[in-house]
């Protein structure tokens, strides 16, 4: 075991000779700052998904729209109709932006807002009907909250579980159904 002791004694003495306590602290500081900065870089964000621009939920294939009057991809949070949504996108859960997945029921009552369609620059009335059933979908969470009001204005609050009007009160995912055009924004 003598060689083992010798080896570490040499190494330790070497480090003690060539480095100062201050440079050790400086290096630790650099590491701490560096590690905390990496997730803030745009590259890391794109890889991580979530609600950043153009990001796709892993495992959900893109569904780009062929209709130039209804542009965008309903499986992304940036899709124009989702301007006031808070929940899992039904487009990622076996349904679509206007239909519930099989086995779920659309809540009869809902919250309603308006979104600007970039294709014709008109405000559309959007109904964010929740789909209700066995278990929350869990894919493509999207929370944009435009026009959202506090809980005391429950009729335009998107944190409410609107499944209270359906036979199952378990929330699955959210749709964004067009009801018409709005004359006021």
């Amino acid at each position: 075991m003598k060689w083992f002791d010798k080896f570490f004694e040499n190494k330790t003495r070497n480090i003690a000779r060539t480095s100062s306590r201050r440079s050790f602290l400086a290096n630790v500081g650099k590491a701490v700052v560096g590690v905390s900065v990496i997730p803030a870089l745009p590259v890391a964000k794109a890889a991580g998904g979530g609600s950043s621009a153009g990001a796709h939920y892993p495992g959900v294939s893109p569904q780009p729209s062929d209709d130039s009057a209804d542009p965008g991809d309903p499986t992304t949070c940036e899709y124009w109709r989702y301007c006031g949504i808070d929940g899992f996108l039904c487009s990622c859960c076996g349904g679509s932006q206007s239909a519930c997945p099989p086995g779920t029921e659309m809540s009869p009552i809902t919250w309603i807002g308006t979104c600007l369609n970039p294709a014709d620059n008109k405000h559309y009335i959007i109904s964010y009907n929740d789909c209700c059933g066995k278990a929350a979908c869990g894919r493509c969470f999207c929370n944009r909250n435009e026009d959202d009001t506090p809980m005391y204005r429950a009729f335009t609050n998107n944190d409410t579980n609107w499944c209270v009007g359906a036979s199952s009160e378990t929330y699955v995912c959210s749709t964004a159904v067009i009801l018409g055009t709005s004359m006021e924004s």
Binding site: P108, I109, T110, W111, I112, T114, I125, S127, R153, F155, T156, V164, G165, L179, G180, S182, M183
Partner: protein, 151 residues
């Protein structure tokens, strides 16, 4: 034709044109009211007024008009929190309530029903039914049941 006659003719033509355009304005107004109903009310009351299917948001179809026929019902129609606290001007609110009564329950309105106007809504909405809402509604519904027997 003298200048005066020409002037008269021009005035008449203008009046006639405006008269012809009147229904257009009225219809545009109705569309606006319906849009506001969709935006501010239909989330809970649904597009056709049927509500949630349980007692929390009752069915307005062929019923809500009865409220205008019983004592205290007219005030109730404006003082329910959904109406009185809606983020809308009293004038728009009066239009919406009139539109709802006419659209969902025209046959139940009393013959002497007078439409709501801005001033009445403004006056009534200052009082908001809160904790007494349920009891008030029950009382009015029993009044309505009584009213139905005689009408």
């Amino acid at each position: 034709m003298s200048t005066r006659q020409k002037n008269n003719l021009a005035k008449r033509a203008l009046c006639l044109t405006l008269l012809c355009l009147l229904p257009l304005f009225c219809r545009a107004n109705d569309a606006h009211t319906k849009m506001q109903y969709t935006l501010y009310c239909s989330g809970c009351h649904t597009a056709d007024g049927r509500g949630s299917g349980d007692e929390r948001i009752p069915d307005m179809r062929n019923f809500v008009g009865y409220f205008a026929a019983v004592e205290g019902g007219r005030e109730f129609l404006i003082q329910v929190p959904g109406v009185s606290t809606a983020p809308l001007k009293s004038r728009d609110l009066a239009d919406i309530v009139n539109w709802m009564l006419r659209t969902f329950s025209a046959d139940q309105l009393p013959d002497d029903f007078i439409k709501f106007d801005e001033q009445e809504v403004e006056r009534l909405r200052h009082y908001v039914l809160r904790s007494e809402l349920g009891d008030k509604r029950k009382q009015l519904v029993s009044q309505i049941e009584e009213y139905k027997k005689h009408n």
